[in-house]
């Protein structure tokens, strides 16, 4: 059983009188224990696909399954840790309070939550800032707290939308290390990005999306076979699709 399944997902939005199709018959299967990269230019529909998977928006057609459960069921979300592209928080709360809320809601016992928080904050190099309100954090620190919220309950699946966005090189290295550590423990990572270096470093398989259509789905070697580099293969694929 695949960890995440997109089964013929289609989604359109209305802009005034016009209707724009953002996802067209998307089919993907993400297997257990792999790091799956979801690539595409800006506006390709990557974030929309993730939002459909997490039931933030409802597809016009098709369904998403997470560990065999419908994506719109509450049970499926207990297996998932999610980080949006621009994490937004209750900024009056401290990092500790925020992670406490995220962990308790995700099912961690009250007796264990403090230990979980300290472990996560140490991994994120935010332990000294534990009791500071999140509104005082820099962009990079907020991105790391977003990662912490995704990981606090040690989910089986991480869904990350542009996880390296806004991070300095040290922050990027930290997130890379966390993702690889997650994989080593047999967990699954599904992340979207338009930074090809990150995808090349981390991913086992990828899918390329452009204007809602899936252009490629497979492993990186297969993708780069006919081109010199991943970047060339990506540009060629997008250009040939009529972008």
């Amino acid at each position: 059983m695949s960890e995440i399944v997109f089964d013929h997902v289609t989604k359109s939005f209305k802009y005034g009188l016009k209707q724009q199709t953002v996802l067209q018959d998307l089919c993907l299967e993400i297997e257990k224990g792999e790091i799956f990269g979801f690539l595409g230019p800006n506006g390709a529909g990557k974030s929309t696909a993730i939002n459909v998977a997490l039931d933030f928006i409802r597809p016009d057609e098709g369904r998403v399954f997470i560990k065999g459960l419908p994506g719109n069921s509450v049970g499926s979300r207990g297996h998932v840790g999610y980080m949006p592209e621009h994490p937004q928080f209750y900024e009056q709360l401290s990092a500790r309070e925020l992670l406490c809320f995220g962990g308790l809601v995700s099912g961690i016992n009250r007796s264990e939550i403090n230990e979980h928080i300290e472990i996560i904050l140490e991994k994120l190099e935010l332990l000294p800032f534990m009791n500071r309100p999140v509104r005082t954090f820099s962009k990079g620190m907020k991105q790391r707290i977003g990662m912490g919220l995704a990981m606090i309950h040690d989910p089986d699946i991480l869904i990350l939308d542009e996880p390296m966005s806004g991070l300095d090189p040290l922050g990027r290295r930290l997130v890379t290390r966390l993702i690889l550590d997650f994989k080593e423990r047999g967990k699954t990572v599904f992340f979207s990005s338009h930074i090809l270096n990150d995808v090349e470093t981390l991913c086992d398989r990828i899918a390329i999306l452009d204007k809602g259509k899936r252009l490629f789905y497979g492993n990186i070697e297969e993708f780069c076979r006919d081109s010199g580099s991943m970047e060339e293969a990506f540009v060629e694929r997008i250009t040939n699709s009529g972008h």
């Binding site: 997490l54 949006p84 937004q88 309070e97 809320f101 308790l104």
Partner: protein
């Protein structure tokens, strides 16, 4: 229930730590203190003036909390997508609605208790310091607590509308406008309908009266919760009337929460 309580606590913490609440509390304290000076400007009905000013400040503070803090917190969640942080977890949408409304209720209750205490203090100080101020013969201090409670209940009803409008509208300002209109209509409509139906002062068309009566079935009758006059003049408060008014207020809030959930359940939140 556990999840609802967690979100209630988080919403409450957000509100209490907010500078908006501190500003409203400070301004209200100033206005309560000025009750003494304002009451002194009147030669008659000073007891009524004192009570009117005190409860007007209480209502103003409560409405400010709803408009600037309540609508602000929910709007921030929806439009900045902070709600995604909650809904991405094992958290249903109805739990989110109840948790958020519970937190806002707790903020309003805390503010009402503190501001109510300040109001009572201002009445007490006025009764001591304002020369010539005589309380009505049947004035009772416990009746102030009942009046404050019903003021709180009316604010809960307004807040349920504010919550609903924030969820359905794309703009925080539209939500504020609709909520203000609801408050205004709720307080004025009963009086207007009675005047028009009486026909003594205005000759209104039956269709207009019918339209206004229909509107009065939709919008809450907030004037029913206003016990200031009874309290100020020491008039007896009918327990049966109070009981049914409380049921009316709670039912309205529950109904608005149901409508809010129905809309929120279908809404794309990102």
């Amino acid at each position: 229930m556990h999840n609802i309580w967690l979100l209630t606590k988080v919403t409450f913490k957000q509100g209490i730590k907010s500078r908006i609440l501190a500003g409203i509390a400070f301004l209200s304290a100033l206005l309560f203190a000025s009750n003494i000076a304002i009451t002194n400007l009147f030669a008659i009905e000073m007891g009524k003036v004192m009570v009117d000013i005190g409860f007007s400040v209480l209502s103003l503070a409560g409405l400010s909390i709803i408009f600037f803090l309540g609508i602000g917190l929910v709007s921030h969640d929806i439009h900045n997508r902070t709600v995604c942080m909650v809904i991405s977890r094992p958290f249903t949408r109805w739990q989110y609605i109840l948790g958020k409304y519970g937190g806002l209720t707790l903020i309003l209750l805390t503010a009402t208790v503190i501001l109510g205490a300040l109001a009572i203090l201002s009445f007490f100080v006025c009764s001591l310091l304002v020369p010539g101020l005589e309380l009505p013969r049947d004035f009772s201090w416990p009746a102030i607590l009942v009046t404050i409670s019903f003021n709180f209940l009316s604010l809960l009803v307004v807040m349920s509308f504010a919550f609903f409008f924030t969820i359905i509208s794309s703009s925080i300002y539209l939500a504020m406008l609709f909520t203000f209109c609801t408050y205004f209509i709720g307080h004025c409509l009963e009086t207007i309908v009675k005047i028009l139906q009486g026909g003594h002062f205005v000759d209104a068309s039956p269709s207009l009266v019918f339209f206004l009566k229909t509107i009065s079935w939709i919008f809450p009758n907030l004037s029913a919760f206003d016990l200031k006059a009874s309290m100020a003049y020491g008039l007896p408060l009918d327990p049966v009337y109070l009981g049914w008014t409380a049921v009316y207020g709670c039912s309205y809030s529950v109904l608005m929460m149901i409508f809010t959930f129905i809309v929120f359940r279908r809404r794309d939140i990102c």
